[in-house]
């Protein structure tokens, strides 16, 4: 039970040459041999979809798995803003190096230099590829691609397709998959949920799935398994993630030995539509560009009863402008989120639930006119009004932060391979590129980079090293199928008194209160104490209706919440063991005199890669040291 | 014709385009038919001579044959498409309503108005074209007095009412069918869509109203 020091397998040589050199050094698989290797891909979002298309184009035998009714439904589809690339089309001084630097700095120096550089390097190819697929990016009148600027960067490098960039990129990857299905090179299993990954002699050799319509459990073998199953934001119950987004595939792999890295790194988005009541099922994000013109405020008086427009200037507290005079409303996501929470914590929140702050466009409308504001934010205002039934042109918007993205994930090396050989992890499911905080428009970039341009090279290394043949009759498959089935049976047989959502909400509350925007030792210890209690109660008293052999959404939910109940605890442990503040992880104990996040570079410039030892048992915190040879670590300040 | 070609031309879109084409043809026919028949307002002689000119033309049999084929094609294909459409739904809705932003009474009733028009047409041909045969002599030339047949037929107010109702049905059918035919052939442009929709309705109204004049006129003639 000793701490291991992990090797990220970053190639030698200057940063700029690492990826090229690595590609050259990687052994190739003969084209005629490729068809002999089978790859299983769990998830059909940007990472998984892109990988499925690309690997099958290369000639591998590929099978994809999605829990949805179609590969096109993956949650990548919901990304609004855009995708970054260092094209420098606007001629404003962008470069691969600058994109790399912004991403490293944005991640608060908790990501791997070489990975981030590679990401910036292939970013341009992504745009080329997507355009060639027919993704209708926004264009200028001259016919060239249009760019806009986004948070955390001083250049315009974000490509976009209206407010539906994620949708268009995903549909691009989806149609690439359809093309491969057409050619008979790719098989897609829809409504199939991965229950377990099968490990033989430390190598990933297959997965166990359940057909969500018929309940049938099936075994699938492969020469490599790729997980591209997304993040674990739904551990908080309320988040901007889709309802079916879950951590189960990644978590099952973790329980089979894959390390889980930096689980406490979660991103909370400041401009979401607030919770309306107990039946709220999910949160809706609005682009943070709103903060360019909206002013954030709360009433000075806790017991304010007046309508927002009746509250005079002197009774309003524009707290962001007051605390951060130079950045004002445009402070980074984490700072804006934390301050909103602080205001609500002291009782100054607004609305029925008192869990919201105002985002007011009155002054902007006065200054620029309603039309100008409508041109910039019309669709967002419309969406807001649809959900909240208030006209934001007249009444200030109410906003509140919400969990949005998880930077942590399964630990992978430079090849995107986990510590289990043959198990690769892409996109949000891995931890690799965003450090402690992800910049806007970088998630799409990473998913596609991993799928289109990284995995096709690195997976070849695994095959070239030689893989022995295994079939689904191997005892490891028997074992995995048996435990998966038993777990589901158990869930169905508890027949307790409380619904799955009851437990999920309860867990979410503990997570939000203690492992949310600002964390401290006391709260984290409380979470570590309470979560196992909820888990215990869950396994005693949950009520799952329906049967095994039919579509049973309660059973699906229960199966996923069972995993959230374990991962939540790990997140709290990780947060507790990282007493520094960095990016999205803010520890009350570690702040500057100006209440800003204070890193502890001396002791925590590393990745915490957790090793599973059993449910309820203390996991092992393995370490990968992060070496910064090309950038200098600096403290953020937005005053 | 190869198999793929057969399949290509039996595709839903092609079938619809054939229906659209034949439909458009009958829209043109309606105009010609109406203009000719309105000669009745000029004088019985003009009307009867027009009718005679039509039937004495040696090409009339060929033309009638072509029109029958076009008409039957329109009917048969439309019925086939409708049957396929019914089948495509499978189990029907417990409750189905239009949004009010798309389908109209006209579009909803196309198959029914179509069938009614078919029934009407059979009766129309039987009662008038093959109706009582009278003769009249103009300048020594003996020709059919179709005018008399008409007046006699429309002396019965029930026949008048039936005709007016039938023309309403034709109007409803055409008001959707005409613009629909354009859409089916791919004519759709934001600048002309509004016009085309209105044109279809106005066209249908004018044609229907024009034909309604005939029974009313004949009825009034007969009453004298």
């Amino acid at each position: 039970m000793s701490v291991k020091y992990l090797d990220g397998k970053v190639p030698e040589g200057p940063l700029k040459d690492k990826w090229n050199k690595h590609k050259f050094d990687s052994k190739l698989v003969n084209p005629s041999n490729k068809r002999k290797f089978k790859v299983l891909i769990v998830g059909t979002g940007l990472g998984g979809g892109a990988a499925a298309a690309t690997l099958s184009e290369l000639g591998y035998e590929v099978e994809s798995f999605t829990i949805s009714d179609s590969a096109r439904r993956a949650h990548s589809i919901a990304a609004q803003g855009g995708i970054n690339a260092a094209k420098n089309y606007p001629n404003d001084g962008d470069s691969i190096w600058r994109l790399f630097y912004d991403t490293i700095k944005g991640g608060d120096y908790r990501s791997r230099e070489a990975n981030v550089y590679r990401l910036a390097e292939v970013s341009n190819n992504i745009i080329d590829q997507c355009v060639a697929q027919g993704v209708p990016f926004a264009r200028e009148y001259g016919g060239v691609l249009s760019n806009r600027s986004f948070g955390g960067a001083q250049v315009s490098r974000t490509f976009y397709a209206r407010g539906q960039t994620g949708q268009q990129l995903l549909l691009g990857a989806y149609s690439a998959m359809m093309k491969q299905v057409n050619k008979g090179k790719l098989k897609i299993h829809t409504r199939m949920e991965m229950l377990d990954v099968v490990i033989v002699d430390g190598v990933a050799r297959g997965i166990i799935c359940r057909n969500l319509i018929t309940g049938k459990i099936s075994r699938h073998w492969g020469d490599a398994v790729i997980l591209a199953s997304g993040g674990y934001g739904n551990v908080y119950y309320l988040s901007t993630n889709a309802m079916a987004s879950n951590a189960s595939a990644a978590w099952r792999a973790h329980k089979k030995g894959a390390y889980f890295a930096n689980p406490c790194f979660t991103q909370i988005h400041p401009t979401c539509i607030p919770v309306h009541g107990a039946n709220q099922s999910k949160l809706t994000l609005m682009s943070e560009s709103l903060r360019n013109d909206g002013r954030v405020w709360v009433p000075k008086n806790k017991d304010e009863k007046r309508a927002p427009n009746d509250i005079p200037e002197e009774d309003r507290d524009y707290y962001l402008e007051r605390i951060y005079p130079s950045f004002g409303n445009l402070v980074p996501r984490d700072v804006a989120s934390r301050n909103a929470k602080n205001q609500c914590d002291v009782g100054k929140g607004v609305g029925n639930t008192k869990l919201a702050v105002y985002l007011d466009f009155r002054d902007a409308i006065k200054r620029d006119g309603r039309e100008a504001i409508e041109a910039k934010y019309g669709n967002l205002f419309e969406m807001y009004e649809r959900i909240n039934d208030e006209n934001p042109y007249i009444v200030p918007m109410k906003i509140y932060p919400a969990v949005h993205y998880t930077m942590g994930g399964l630990w992978v090396d430079y090849n995107l391979e986990s510590n289990l050989k043959g198990l690769f992890v892409l996109g949000e499911a891995n931890f690799s590129d965003h450090g402690a905080n992800r910049l806007g428009a970088s998630a799409l970039m990473q998913g596609l980079a991993d799928g289109y341009f990284v995995i096709p090279y690195t997976i070849g290394r695994h095959f070239a090293e030689g893989v022995s043949k295994v079939d689904t009759n191997h005892p490891a498959f028997d074992e995995a199928e048996k435990t998966s089935k038993e777990k589901l049976d158990k869930l169905l047989n508890i027949q307790g008194t409380k619904t799955v959502d009851y437990f999920h909400k309860k867990l979410g509350q503990v997570m939000w209160d203690n492992v949310g925007m600002a964390r401290n030792e006391q709260g984290l210890r409380k979470a570590i104490e309470e979560i196992p209690k909820i888990r215990e109660e869950f396994w005693k008293d949950v009520k799952v209706t329906g049967d095994f052999d039919n579509l049973n959404m309660e059973l699906e939910k229960a199966n996923r919440v069972a995993d959230f109940l374990e991962i939540g605890e790990l997140m709290a442990r990780d947060a507790l063991m990282r007493p520094e503040s960095c990016g999205g992880h803010f520890r009350d104990e570690s702040q500057t005199d100006e209440n800003e996040a204070k890193r502890d570079d001396e002791n925590y410039t590393h990745v915490a890669a957790w090793e599973f030892t059993g449910v309820g048992k203390e996991p092992i915190r393995n370490i990968e040291e992060l070496k910064f040879e090309n950038v200098k670590l600096t403290q953020r300040s937005y005053k | 014709m190869s198999v793929t070609m057969c399949r290509r031309f039996s595709a839903s879109i092609v079938k619809k385009q054939v229906v659209a084409f034949t439909g458009l043809f009958f829209c043109l026919f309606l105009v010609g038919h109406l203009v000719g028949n309105l000669l009745i307002l000029v004088s019985p002689e003009a009307f009867n001579k027009y009718a005679h000119a039509l039937v004495s033309n040696p090409a009339i049999y060929a033309i009638e044959a072509v029109m029958t084929i076009l008409f039957l094609t329109h009917v048969v294909l439309a019925l086939k498409l409708t049957r396929e459409n019914r089948k495509a739904r499978g189990e029907s809705y417990h409750l189905k309503r239009n949004t009010g932003r798309g389908a109209t009474f006209m579009s909803d009733t196309m198959p029914y108005t179509g069938i009614l028009i078919f029934v009407f047409l059979v009766l129309h041909i039987l009662k008038l074209k093959y109706g009582t045969y009278y003769e009249v002599t103009y300048d020594g030339l003996v020709i059919r007095d179709l005018f008399k047949t008409m007046v006699e037929y429309f002396r019965n107010p029930l026949n008048v009412a039936f005709y007016i109702a039938a023309m309403l049905v034709v109007g409803i059918h055409v008001s959707h069918g005409l613009w629909s035919a354009f859409q089916t052939f791919g004519f759709n442009h934001p600048r002309y869509n509004g016009f085309l929709r209105k044109f279809s309705i106005i066209f249908a109204m004018v044609v229907a109203a024009g034909f309604m004049v005939l029974p009313i006129f004949c009825y009034l003639q007969g009453a004298n």
Partner: protein, 254 residues
């Protein structure tokens, strides 16, 4: 939250155990619905009650709940995605209903999209149509520079209009004929309007339409209920475009 304005509703919902059993409409009463709830949250609330009573909850498709994934469906009082224009079911809110209302909830109905359970239907037919030709045949690695191919803003915007389809199949559900023309034409249009898709456009439209027919979707009668029900406002000019593309392609092919 206060209890003021909470609604009591009567629901009539299609219940069907699985693909092989026959379904029927079942009546439910649901009290205390907040007008701020979304339509799906209202069903969540019903399901929580059903589960607590030990009954099987109503299965329905949903995922992102922000109107983009295309999972949610439902015929609500006879209209696809409910009465609002350009709104998915997940974005429909209960404040559009009154206390005491009866709401009829049914699955999409189309023979090529059979009910799998309750309100869940199988939409893989759409994938099948996409497989037939809904792509540009280009492999990763061979793409030219993104700006090497200027595209006029006009066509780029029209293409984006068509591309915003979320594949929910409301068009099929709302169509009096269960036709998939709007879905197919949106994809055909997206590519036909761009130079990238130009090369294969004839083959694409022929293959996709052939597949659509083969699957047993109905024929378009230009009723435009699809356009009226489309949560993304995709209009039937796309169908017209596909009609002429198809005609041109089938003539050219021989």
């Amino acid at each position: 939250m206060s209890d003021i304005g909470l609604m009591n509703l009567k629901l009539k919902i299609w219940r069907q155990k699985n693909m092989t059993t026959k379904g029927k409409m079942v009546d439910y009463k649901l009290d205390g619905v907040s007008p701020d709830s979304s339509f799906l949250e209202m069903i969540d609330q019903l399901n929580e009650e059903l589960v607590t009573k030990g009954e099987d909850p109503v299965a329905f498709d949903h995922d992102c709940r922000e109107g983009i994934c295309g999972m949610c469906s439902l015929m609500i009082n006879g209209m696809a995605h409910g009465p609002e224009s350009e709104t998915t079911t997940c974005q429909l809110h209960m404040r559009k209903y009154k206390d005491g209302d009866t709401i009829v909830i049914e699955p999409w109905r189309a023979r090529p999209m059979p009910v799998q359970k309750d309100l869940v239907v199988d939409r893989t037919a759409f994938d099948d149509i996409m497989v037939a030709g809904g792509f540009v045949d280009i492999n990763v690695g061979s793409a030219p520079d993104a700006n090497g191919l200027p595209i006029g803003k006009g066509n780029a915007e029209l293409s984006m209009d068509a591309a915003s389809c979320i594949g929910c199949a409301a068009c099929v559900a709302a169509c009096p004929n269960a036709s998939a023309m709007l879905f197919v034409s949106a994809k055909v249009s997206q590519f036909a309007l761009l130079p990238q898709g130009e090369v294969e456009k004839d083959q694409r439209v022929l293959n996709m339409v052939t597949k659509m027919d083969e699957l047993g979707f109905g024929n378009c009668t230009n009723a435009a209920e699809c356009e009226a029900s489309c949560p993304k406002g995709i209009d039937i000019s796309n169908i017209a475009r596909m009609n002429r593309e198809y005609l041109a392609a089938s003539i050219k092919a021989h």
